[in-house]
Every structure is written in structure tokens, then in C-alpha cells.
Symmetry: C2
Subunit: 122 residues, 2 copies
Amino acid sequence: MTKNKSLLLDIIRAAPRHMTAEQIFLAAKEQRPGIAMATVYNNLGALVAEGLIRRLHIVGQADRYDRNIDQHEHLVCDGCGRISDEKFEDFLAELSKQVGAAVSSYELNMHYLCADCRNDQL
Amino acid sequence: MTKNKSLLLDIIRAAPRHMTAEQIFLAAKEQRPGIAMATVYNNLGALVAEGLIRRLHIVGQADRYDRNIDQHEHLVCDGCGRISDEKFEDFLAELSKQVGAAVSSYELNMHYLCADCRNDQL
DNA sequence: TTTTAGAATTAGAATTGTTCTAAAATTATT
DNA sequence: AATAATTTTAGAACAATTCTAATTCTAAAA
């Protein structure tokens, strides 16, 4: 665990929401102005490989990084783009049962309109 | 519906599996050697917008295109990369119930090892 | 302390997948 | 046939990410 790696981990853990590599890079720069984008990508990759964070893919967006490493689901507002976490109980087991094979992991992104965006439409 | 668009749609509908834009481009070239990549992207985008095909995002892979336009789930083998379809009944309604809001669509990619890859590991 | 070896970091080039642009070709309309 | 609208093309541009090779840091050994 190097200084940069732990700095990035701190940033991700302190973040109120799922950040892109670029946002993490900008945040890291405030404390270590010389840091390079490649260092950010290197360390994010390492942190993902070590299982300390998770990488998120949302259609049409850059990858985001999630401090929450438990299996969980994502709710994406198609109005404002905001992403929030959901937690379905025993979902992995449920999926394994449904497909009749051991599902090791999954990504579930659900799209909807959040309350704010629903109101704006009226 | 132009000639190229319908050619691409035919290719996707005839495909035994989910193809990338590049694979579709190569297949289209056999029947129309001069076709440009931009035409493929243009028409794939149009077909997706018209709801005639669906676009798929799998982590770490280029987008793929799916002839099956019903909401369904994907099972990705982490051994060979093969993607297969699943169909859970009333899943969208189930998700809406779970999150307490109207989910309009979702992507669910489940990872596992297919029977072949499981056997190879023994 | 210096030396050394290995790992981490850097800057920037390269790559990938995709979109954009402007001109040319095709198709449909008058 | 003339005009307009649409589609296609080739290639440039782009964004996100990965790679590369030189440099710097770190920490253990001499």
C-alpha cells in the first residue's frame, strides 16, 4: 500500500458518490499536485484487483469507482444521471437458483426517474 | 429502412451470438465490400433508437448488439467470454416493487463459468 | 551512510472504440 | 431532368484508457 494508492482509497471512501477516474484524479491533485493520470489508473486497477473497491460501468458514461465492495445494485436516474445504491437481500443466491448454475458476481443497473426529475417533468 | 440498414439488421438477426460493431462490419463487407464503419455505427445507432435491436455493455468489452429486444438478462462466462440469454418472468415489475419506484429498464449481467469451462478446470 | 534492486511514478505516445465532419453518392420528389 | 433530402463515405477527431520507457522513490544489503 503506497502513499498514492492509499490517498486514492481515502478519496473514494470519503466520496459522497461514485466518482470517475477523472474526478478522482482532480481530487488527488489537490493534495499531490504532480500526480499523473497514469498513476491514478494504475492504482485504481490495483485497488479493484485487490478487491478494495469496485469498478462500475453505466451505459454511456466513463467508468466509476465504488467504495462499497459488497454485492449490490445500482439505480441510475435517466434525468440527472445520479446513481444510488440498492441492497437486495440474498440476491446472488436467488440468481444462481434462477439460472441453475453458480453465479459468481453480477452487475445490475436499473434505470428510472428520481423524485426530483419526475417533478420537473410536470 | 435503407438497404444497408436492413442488411445490418439481417446480419444481427441471423447471428448465433451477440456481435460487436466490428464483427457486424466484417460480415457486412462480404456482401457490400465498400461499406464504411461509420455507416455501420450510424445504422446500428438508428436501429437501437427505433427499438429494433438492443445495445449491450459488458465490462471490459466493446459494445455488442442483440436481436432480442425483450427485456432479458445476460449470463457471461468468465472462462470463454461467451454470452447467453436468460429470461426471468416479470422481473421488471419485481425490481420496481423492490426499489419502490417505476424502473423503466435495466441491465443485468451475471458472471459464472459455463459447463465447458468448469470441466476444463478439473 | 552508500549501493543496489525492485517497485512506483511520470509524461507522453499509442490504442481502442466511437462519433463527427464535410464532401460525394444515392434516392426520392417535383 | 432538376431539385431536394437523405445516406454514405473517408478520414479526422475524440474520449477513455493502456502502454512505454525513462526517471524517481523506497527499503534492504553492504
